[in-house]
Subunit: 437 residues, 2 copies
Amino acid sequence: MGQSRSVGDVGVDAGGVVTGTRPHVLATYVIETSLPLQRAAEVLAGEQSTGTFVRVARESDDLRARFAAQVESIDEIPPTGASPLPGAIGDPGARRRALLRLRFPLDNFGPSLPNLLAAVAGNLFEIKELAAIKLVDLDLPGAFAERYPGPAFGVDGTRRLMSRSEGAMIGTIVKPSIGLSPEDLGELVGELATAGVDFIKDDELQGNGPTAPLAARVRAVMPVLQRHADRTGVKPMYAFNITDDIDRLEANHDLVVAAGGTCVMVCVNLVGLSGLEYLRRRAQVPIHGHRTMFGALSRSEQVGFSFRAWQKLVRLSGADHLHTNGISNKFYESDAEVLESIAAVREPLLGLTPTVPVLSSGQWGGLAHATYSAVATTDLLVLAGGGIHGHPDGSAAGVMSMREAWESAARGESPAAALEHSAALRRATEVFGPVRA
Amino acid sequence: MGQSRSVGDVGVDAGGVVTGTRPHVLATYVIETSLPLQRAAEVLAGEQSTGTFVRVARESDDLRARFAAQVESIDEIPPTGASPLPGAIGDPGARRRALLRLRFPLDNFGPSLPNLLAAVAGNLFEIKELAAIKLVDLDLPGAFAERYPGPAFGVDGTRRLMSRSEGAMIGTIVKPSIGLSPEDLGELVGELATAGVDFIKDDELQGNGPTAPLAARVRAVMPVLQRHADRTGVKPMYAFNITDDIDRLEANHDLVVAAGGTCVMVCVNLVGLSGLEYLRRRAQVPIHGHRTMFGALSRSEQVGFSFRAWQKLVRLSGADHLHTNGISNKFYESDAEVLESIAAVREPLLGLTPTVPVLSSGQWGGLAHATYSAVATTDLLVLAGGGIHGHPDGSAAGVMSMREAWESAARGESPAAALEHSAALRRATEVFGPVRA
């Protein structure tokens, strides 16, 4: 198994010479184990670099010194009381929880995201010495940003394309999620454009099925948006869900762009980070990154990825927009978690163009003040499905309620002041409840 | 929210006419909830098809009848006592566990694996009404096999290429996992070929780093194997790990094939199912599917995918070989789980060419009898890393011990008889312990 060394930046070059700093990746995990923490950390480091279950020929000390993952730090944290992962060995009473940082030499995998993942997020989830193992952060060297350019449009490019130079970008999701005929979709999009929405997206469930295939949706939607643009000078951005097999992504993208579309959406976990990256190399419009299936990777406290770690990989892979969820959402995440996710997406990363956080799920105008007071920015894409379509006075009033609420929040007003100024917001509260402070 | 209907095969066509059987997907979940089971099932079905949190315009009864996911069956099962997923709502004392089957109209997504996943494995993992939500099986209509051809080589193609027409296919993993120079790798491969191994693979940690890039490994390995083939008529199969960005997969594959290589390996979860499928469309040799990172998706009892559900997607995407783990492995899975996984991979699936189960992790000759008595086949690729490299008499004796043990098991002999006939197996027990019955 790998030896634990706390020698920091020291490496050994091909000639066996100890050198100074070599590029490395720092991976931070939450672990639980019934073994001594140091021992469990060494098992993990060994499994993910030079180790097998017996020492083998050609596994020299030099090789270990150069390629072994090193235990950088172990900080014990309070247990949560969650059940251990199945198959965890050792005395349950001895179980402890810790934040563990491991240092991996970049030379082990090079600046390749898939190969990085084999080391920092591969077999380790199956290690029986661990009763919890979750990757919660990744610090990557600059070599990754040299290989992966990240978003091509980001906040500024998105604002430019939708003609919304300041303020929260207000968007919506086509509802019902699936089943609308292209004709009905075109009609709905016309209403939403007239309502003044900045952005419309397909539901992630709306792929390329036979009743409303992508080509038919593009044909139904783009002329409507083009006519709106001709009248008003503003073309709302429509994110067509082009998620599909890799070999279809480029053609799907091209179909959208040829019709004057300004955005494509992919479900990142369904095409893979690699599929997103493949699209990024070819995309001429912003890529709207949907996070569906993320719960499978992240909802357990005991295994998988935190949003913080995962979103760095997604941004490197080129998502211009990334779903973070919103406060008071209809899913499992607490407001604190959502706000951490939004902050994480807004943190600088290796000099990449900033990705736009996308707030969605159960959103409506009454959440603007509470959200803004926590995030202090309007560089956000805020999506309301039911919150716009379900406004008692229709979608135009729904958009108005969202826009006026966000403008009020950004001016530093109280919710009470917003309600005073905005009739649309007042009416929204009749359906969606009080404005959150 | 979607309405629960138990009407089975009934559908409604575009003209509103009720029709007979329409193609559909049956997804089976384990769920836990503190809500009434029927209510939780309806929330799930609604979220994954026509629903949003308020009823919206154009959401007609006809649309729901045609596109809503239907609750097919709910069968209560005993609780496991595992902690609920974070964010689950309701009275913890009321929590119940059930096997839930949902029926999704194929028209909702068409026979596209990424779009299928949005429906059967998308946002549902985040639903707060659920305290557990794991996709445990998928029954897919034939349309998927029309679009996805599955493995091109499978069991027969693999046997032919490695000249091993019967008996267990015995393989090994290059160890140390990473850090070997190409020269050392070539030397090691020569030893292993001479030792009589059928198959050798790169470790999943060995990607395309600067110290042993793929091109250098191919240059070091293939001439050695070619010389061995010239001498013996048998070319052991070497699975080069070509995992990388999508745009590099084809070139990596071509590099291997141009040098006479007969197999490529990808880490399925690192390139995505879509990446595997992309490679399948281009591959001229078998694809060895590594399952690394699978634990992140599956180890929790409460969320994610079972191996049974996941392997169907991998086989459709074209993996000729697929890692199942082996009994007495060094990871968390029980022998019963491993044996179920091997059986699942061997089950017929939509007429696809059979995928080879790959047994690995802690394997050695002493596990042959116990494995064979459970699986009753030698259409397996059995990989031993330490179990071959760490044999007290070297790798040739390691291979011999594996081969003789599997031949003995397949003849129906007892472990005692195997030990009597095989000196190599006797010696292996000195390091690895007694043969398992």
